[in-house]
């Protein structure tokens, strides 16, 4: 087992355990905090996949912004932890079945696909490649993303603002 594999399995464990806690934890704060290792694990995977720029953004936005936002809201709404009330709804068994089925389905199908060979090696410094991509074919996506952010923020502020 080489280092890559070792790193992969460690990160995978981190992601999955974190994810499980996010999903299972009765204490919502715990759940939110568990997001951090999960998202960081995913960031680690990005490193393994040579996606350094994505890793950076993942850590910045996800871990830095989203998780904090979520925690905020939990603290604002459910009396900090949400422990007072039942967190799980009545469709657990069904959900388990559906999710299990879906995962098995994904495995059954995806593991049989003869995934296409790479058209070449990754470019040496891929933040640059990402940048080129963003500026050349995906300039429109880039610009639209900024519009989306603008619209979301404006709307979120209007909605979230407490009115007199």
């Amino acid at each position: 087992m080489n280092a890559e594999a070792l790193a992969f399995y460690a990160l995978a464990a981190m992601v999955l355990v974190g994810g499980a806690l996010v999903v299972y934890s009765r204490n919502l704060v715990h759940a939110a905090v568990s997001l951090v290792p999960t998202l960081l694990g995913v960031a680690g995977l990005y490193v393994l996949l040579h996606a350094e720029f994505v890793t950076a953004i993942q850590i910045l936005i996800y871990v830095g912004a989203i998780t904090v936002l979520i925690l905020f809201v939990i603290l604002l709404t459910e009396g900090a932890t949400g422990l007072r009330v039942r967190q799980r709804n009545e469709q657990v068994p069904l959900a388990l079945g559906v999710c299990g089925a879906l995962v098995v389905l994904l495995w059954v199908v995806l593991l049989r696909v003869p995934w296409g060979p790479a058209a070449g090696p990754l470019p040496p410094y891929n933040p640059g490649a990402v940048g080129r991509s963003f500026l050349m074919p995906y300039v429109l996506a880039f610009e639209v993303t900024s519009l989306v952010i603008l619209a979301s923020l404006v709307g979120a502020i209007v909605i979230a603002r407490r009115e007199e």
């Binding site: 999955l16 997001l35 604002l76 709804n89 994904l106 993303t145």
Partner: protein, 102 residues
Amino acid sequence: MIGLPHYLVLSSLLFGMGLYGVLTRRNAVAILMGIELMLNAANVNFVAFTKFVDPTFVRGHVAALVIITLAACEAAVGLALIINAYRHLETVNVDQVDLLKG
């Protein structure tokens, strides 16, 4: 050697977990967290595919970046809606928010 299937299995498990969270949580914020897991699963796929299938144009990276941004926007919008609803309905449990049904 860690290949594409490894990543796919991992992402599918993450996806399933996220979906499970979405499906079993009563709390809207918790559901949102499940959704974030699903989006991360998709992102893992995108980035993994970039390496193994489309290394030249790194479109997967672009997609992942876009999705991360969208996730942020969703979180902002969603949490705003949830907070506002909490102010008037005094709950964030989805099954207690049921003026509309039938």
